[in-house]
Amino acid sequence: MELPKFGLQVIPYESGATFDSKDGYFAYFSDHDALRRELMRHSPKDADNYEQYARSVMRQCKFIKPLLMRTAPDPVRLRPRDVSELAYILKRFHGLGPREMAETIRFWTMSIAEYLDQYFETSIIKAHLAGSGIIGTGLGPYSPGTAYVLLHHYMGEVDGAIGAWGFARGGMGSISKALARSFEASGGEIRTDSGVDRFAIRNGKVRGIVLENGDEYEARTVVSGMDVRRTFIDHTDERELPSDFLKAVRRYRFRGSSGKLNIALDGMPTFSGAPKDARFLKGDLHFLDDMEEIERAYDDWKAGRWSVSPYVDFLIPTQIDPTMAPPGKHYATVFVQYAPYELAEGQWDDANREAFAETVISKIARHSPDFRKLIVHKEVRSPLDIERETGLTEGNIFQGELTFDQLLFNRPVPGYAQYRSPVRGLYMCGSSTHPGGGVMGAPGANAAREILADLGHKFDLGAAA
């Protein structure tokens, strides 16, 4: 798609840190020597075991990666292609060797807390690493399945370096912009300003779409980037769909759990726990003592409250990307775990939104004495706001939970994991399909390959590259 040609620039990730309540900190560095020194400072044993931990995660990434860029096999149908895909997975699995096979099964089923406990003894190190296991999910660090969520966050790749994170210059919107420009350059046309009202279907085949403003478009192939529930429950005549499919779609779980604050700052805040000129302030910052604190934050969510002491993923991208604010000004993006989609008491109204923001800001202000003073403006988003604004159902950032029951050939629902739907010509390409959410483009690439195959194109999209 030649996204760099259309303006996408990715800046590599350098470091990050977690501050504890006593102004201690653990800093993560992408520089290997610096990271080792920092780990040694907390525990020589943890420094040693970090290598084992990193290798284990990397092995799992290497195992799973090729599966992402391939359509999952369908064990329900077991056509020849499904059999050969299953054989491929089994062969790769077997290739891990007996020890790693056992590790893989453990990894896919265990909690991030138990996984980290195997390797580390220092609370703050575990707390720092555990975040990746719970971000965006309705699970706590002690919930089985969260080790895999960590993997999902580590699966990214920058210039061939597996596990690397990057920042899109100009913010995340620059990715959508580059995609749009690339699409248009190949002759595509984009229409916005009116949502899809429904998919026009006749005799089990898609005929086109009808927009909310009444415009109609005829098409024999329609691809929906909305999640499976929106596509089929909200915008398709249910009578056109088999009932077992509908039942499975209704069962598909979203469970939004994340809130968001965007805060404009009059200057760069200081942190009482950070040494002078700390480089790691440029990265993601967290404020917590241990994994239990995240678990308690999760308990609040289960009870229908936002966390009293939330897990925050705090970043001031204006330090590394000068395009994001006027000179001297800064901007903080604050991802908050956990916030429920529906409050047990009351509604997500302005008062509650403000109270939620206050909970988050006071947590940050405990570590940054001048933070509150520097706030010029803020946007607060509950999961409900995220749903309204971005169309992510229930505010689940991955278009549906990343639990094992909703992964691979079960994503979004058994029997329909290959981007096709019960309606001929109507396809799915959003994150509620395999391999799931995040800004990675894999569901779309897999879907495109299936659609082109149905349309009779022979091609090579570089599958499993």
Binding site: A27, D33, A34, D48, R55, L96, P369
Partner: protein
């Protein structure tokens, strides 16, 4: 809400390379500004001229900073049992004051690392190696009455190697040196500092290693350098050491083999049989890590073997692939060197079975040569060599000679 009890935050750890105990002295001599990363420390790659630095190892004496090595103290009533469980050799035979070259394996019989064990006393050992081992050692020591301590930063170390190294110590009146046989060590005095002197090294020649407190490092250095003029003492960088290491037949982790603790791909680690180190396994001692797997492996042909090779002509076969009958790819070179002392083109290479076992003839390496921008490909004959290329008799003569 400002907080009280404000203690100053811990300073940020260094990013990039750190200065070791001899850094000031080495930096002053480093006219090439060549540094490498060795466990996060700035280690000189070459100080002024590799060729002269190399010939100083073979002809005079040399100083090389080996402080970045990982060092662990293993102490307590069960220390011997712990070490014996760790390594494949029978450590019960190692007497206090002696050093042993050792390897250790995981449960699958794959080599984790190699290194040296110093027996300081009946119940005190020190392990020196290339890669961090603390977590592994603690796992091995589980349930034993022994403590493991990372003493890497509590000790500075120097390699003093070369034919005149004994003469240099003689000039400093280090009398204990006269009785030291290879793999012996003793506490000695260099100037006013107490130093542990071991007759060890990886050059295949006469040489010593000196172990000291970091705070004594500069004084010891100055005494050695001050007395070294007569003996042609030269401070050297890693590139020269690497040449001598290949000649002397020592393996280098991460170059010739990968530790099973760090290899990402499960087929990359290697067994002692594959590395040609089976003589280091003492099956007749009590249980040790990997014993069961190694017993099983002892009965079968290794899937591949690391061999020493002599290559035709004079261009080093660096990164070369090995072919049988110029056609079939059967292996790859890991280390390669034109040996200026042996006047031989030498290499270590992995060969897939049965090559290097029953099939050892008609082997070729494909050497790529760049000649003024243009690359040339050359097939060169190679043959397997059985012994290290360079081991000098003065390495073991006791008392050691003057040159």
């Amino acid at each position: 809400m400002a907080r009280k009890n404000a203690k100053a935050p811990h300073p940020q750890v260094a990013v990039g390379l750190e200065a070791g105990p001899f850094h000031e002295r080495i930096a002053a001599l480093n006219s090439q500004y060549g540094w490498m990363d060795w466990m996060g420390f700035a280690s000189p790659s070459v100080l002024d001229n590799v060729e002269f630095e190399y010939f100083a190892i073979r002809n005079q004496s040399t100083l090389f900073d080996i402080s970045p090595m990982c060092k662990y103290a293993i102490e307590g009533a069960d220390a011997e049992a712990v070490v014996n469980r760790l390594v494949t050799r029978d450590i019960r035979k190692l007497k206090p004051g002696r050093v042993a070259y050792v390897i250790w394996c995981d449960e699958d019989g794959n080599v984790i690392d190699d290194g040296t064990v110093f027996r300081l006393a009946e119940d005190r050992f020190r392990l020196c190696c290339q890669e961090p081992q603390l977590a592994w050692l603690e796992d091995v020591a589980w349930g034993f009455d022994a403590t493991i301590r990372d003493v890497s930063r509590e000790m500075a170390a120097l390699a003093l190697q070369g034919p005149t190294s004994a003469a240099l110590l003689r000039a400093l009146a280090v009398k204990e040196m006269e009785q030291l046989k290879p793999f012996d060590f003793a506490a000695v005095r260099i100037g006013r500092k107490v130093v542990e002197l071991s007759r060890t090294g990886f050059t295949g020649d006469l040489g010593y290693e000196l172990w000291m407190k970091p705070q004594d490092a500069v004084a010891v250095w100055d005494d050695l350098v001050g007395a070294g003029g007569q003996q042609g003492l030269r401070v050297i960088g890693y590139q020269a050491v690497e040449m001598a290491r290949i000649e002397a037949g020592f393996l280098l982790p991460k170059t010739d083999f990968l530790s099973s603790r760090t290899a990402l791909r499960t087929d990359r680690p290697s067994t002692p049989f594959e590395l040609g180190l089976e003589r280091m396994i003492a099956f007749d001692k009590p249980h040790f890590n990997g014993r069961r797997a190694l017993l099983r492996l002892a009965g079968s042909t290794p899937r591949r073997r690391l061999v020493q090779m002599e290559v035709g002509k004079d261009k080093p076969a660096a990164n070369a692939l090995v072919y049988h009958r110029k056609k079939k790819e059967v292996g790859m070179v890991t280390s390669a060197l034109w040996s200026p002392t042996c006047k031989q083109n030498i290499a270590y290479a992995w060969l897939d079975a049965p090559y290097g076992e029953t099939e050892s003839g008609d082997l070729w390496v494909e050497i790529y040569l760049q000649k003024e921008i243009r690359w040339q490909r050359r097939m060169e004959r190679c043959r397997i060599a059985e012994k290290p290329f360079f081991v000098h008799q003065r390495r073991s003569a006791t008392p050691p000679g003057d040159y």
